[in-house]
């Protein structure tokens, strides 16, 4: 009786999974098609020739978006921003979280509650004055303007603090008796024990900042400095009638993140249940 009931469930799931995945297949198929093959009466999920129906993929769309419309530069920019931003952010957040979890100093808990309160303000409310602060710091229209204003995250500090507080204190006491200082304890005990939560924070930060459109949109003017989402948005505007270029650009933006998801799926799906996907 049970087996009979499972069939409709699997059918429903396959339909839902198809709705979820087909847009990506459609994106890839379009990105590998020759221009004229894209605009056919019956849409095809494979890069086929419009007349003969034969398999005829091409890489020229990727060559075009990479070399001529600046997505190559944007890709490099995105990689650089993430390479500097994510480790710096992780370090700042983890050090602060360690102090909030373990080092008792006057005013600590009040300060922590104030910071949590700040998290409740919608990011949109802060958008305009944040741009102004960035301008005042001389970081407007530069890659540092993407990095510095995102260099810490209250949410990540909160998550890390919760985890650090759950670690047993005995190990630290033992290390202290052996003469270890705060920093030694942090690097030798806390960090190795916290690898799961540190990796969750790293991966979700990467996904968020790699994908972020709004902040680069308001801080950058110079196309040479664009990150991928912004360059893709510009490409989609400039080449509005050429879906094959836009889909190649979208694939360039999407594939690295999907690769990260496939590699770290368990960590991400566990972490998401607690934190969502916000920077």
């Amino acid at each position: 009786m049970k087996k009979v009931r499972l069939a409709p469930i699997y059918i429903a799931l396959i339909v839902l999974a198809a709705i979820s995945v087909v847009p990506f297949i459609w994106m890839l198929a379009t990105s590998f098609k020759h221009g004229p093959d894209v605009y056919t009466k019956v849409p095809s999920l494979l890069p086929l020739d419009r007349k003969t129906g034969e398999w005829s993929p091409t890489l020229e769309n990727y060559e075009y978006v990479f070399d001529l419309s600046g997505l190559g530069t944007a890709f490099v920019n995105s990689v650089w921003v993430c390479l500097i931003l994510i480790p710096a952010k992780l370090l700042i957040d983890a050090l602060a979280a360690y102090a909030f979890a373990r080092i008792p100093f006057p005013g600590r808990d009040k300060l922590f509650i104030l910071m949590l309160g700040g998290m409740m303000v919608p990011t949109i409310t802060l958008l305009v004055p944040r741009v102004f602060v960035t301008q005042e710091l001389g970081l407007f229209d530069s890659q540092w303007g993407l990095i510095v204003p995102n260099i810490a995250s209250v949410l990540d500090i909160f998550l890390l603090r919760q985890f650090f507080m759950s670690l047993p204190g005995e190990l630290e006491e033992a290390a202290r008796i052996d003469g270890a200082g705060r920093m030694q304890i942090f690097w030798r005990i806390i960090v190795p024990l916290s690898k799961p939560v540190l990796s969750v924070v790293t991966i979700t930060s990467f996904i968020f900042h790699w994908n972020d459109l709004v902040w680069p949109l308001v801080v950058l003017n110079d196309p040479e400095k664009y990150t991928l989402p912004l360059a893709l948005q510009q490409l989609a505007t400039a080449e509005a009638g050429r879906a094959y270029y836009i889909m190649a650009g979208a694939a360039v933006a999407v594939i690295p993140v999907i690769a990260v998801l496939l590699v770290f799926q368990r960590r991400i799906l566990q972490g998401i249940a607690f934190s969502g996907l916000k920077g």
Binding site: I9, L13, L16, A17, S20, V21, P23, W26, P43, L95, A96, A99, R102, P104, F105, R108, L111, L114, G118, M119, V121, P122, T123, I124, T125, L126, L127, V128, P129, R130, F132, V133, A152, E173, R176, R182, N211, L213, V214, L217, P229, L232, Q233, A236, T237, A240, A243, I246, M247, A250, A253, V254, I258, L261, Q265, I268, L269, I272, A273, L277
Partner: protein
Amino acid sequence: MASPVLADRPAATPDGPGRRRRPGFGRRDHLVGWLLITPALIYFVAFLLYPAIAALYYSFTDWNLRSAPNWVGLANYTDLLFDDVKYPHFWKSVQVSLIYTVIAVPLTLVAALGQALLINAIRRGSNLFRLLLFLPVVTAEAAVGAIWRWLYDPQYGLINAVLGWFGIPPQNWLNNPDLVIPALAFIAAWQCGISMIIYLAGLKGIPLSLREAAIIDGAGPVQRFRKVVLPMLRPTTFYLLVTGVIAALQVFGLVYVIFSAANKSVTGGPEQAGLTYVLHLYLFAFRYDAMGAACAMSFILLVFIMIITALQFKFVKQEAA
């Protein structure tokens, strides 16, 4: 919340015979604590606390970035709310965001709950389906916008082709004012993966004994769902509803991408049908340099979100009582 903090316990006696063996950190420990939070604190003050206060101040000024802010009192607020010559699309943008929220949030929750129930009912392949249904979530909104514009393409898009199999005539999804919001809401539901994962965690938290008791009492699957599963998921649903409403009211990036490609200059789609509140705010801040008015809009949004959230909490408390 307060867990035993390491140094608190043994440090209770300031000077005792066992002082050297006590795992304390000395007086400079406070200093180390402050030192470690300093970078995060600077960030917090510069990019959260100060901007929040500054935004409130600017909302009472007439400010265009080039000249110094000029105090105008409540004028920005009253003009936004009542002057439909100066801000002709303000109420339209409120309406668009509200309708979007009312359609997109329930649609997303139903899709997420449905997916979670289905995945929870199977064993083989549940990880694979979970992963596939999660893919849209990690996709950049710039790419989501680009992909869906192409899917919704009236002539060559996949959506119209698929609907054609069922005899539904092709629609001009993003250029028909009546269809813009449903089309956007469908994209939101397509990206319901986070809610699905959270529902899945909620479902795993329902004690097996409850379901078994319901089965013994002769409850069918529909009754079990209504009398056991849904009530047990109430906290989850409430959490997703509150966060979902807050997010939906702020929808911007996706709409920006979808409509900036359509008509080059951003106007919010056909007849402003896709002019969401935050898109409207963005235009005033970064296209028309009306920073003061934009800040006022952002505070109206903040207050509105607070009211909506408080109402939801109140409603749930009444229900529970």
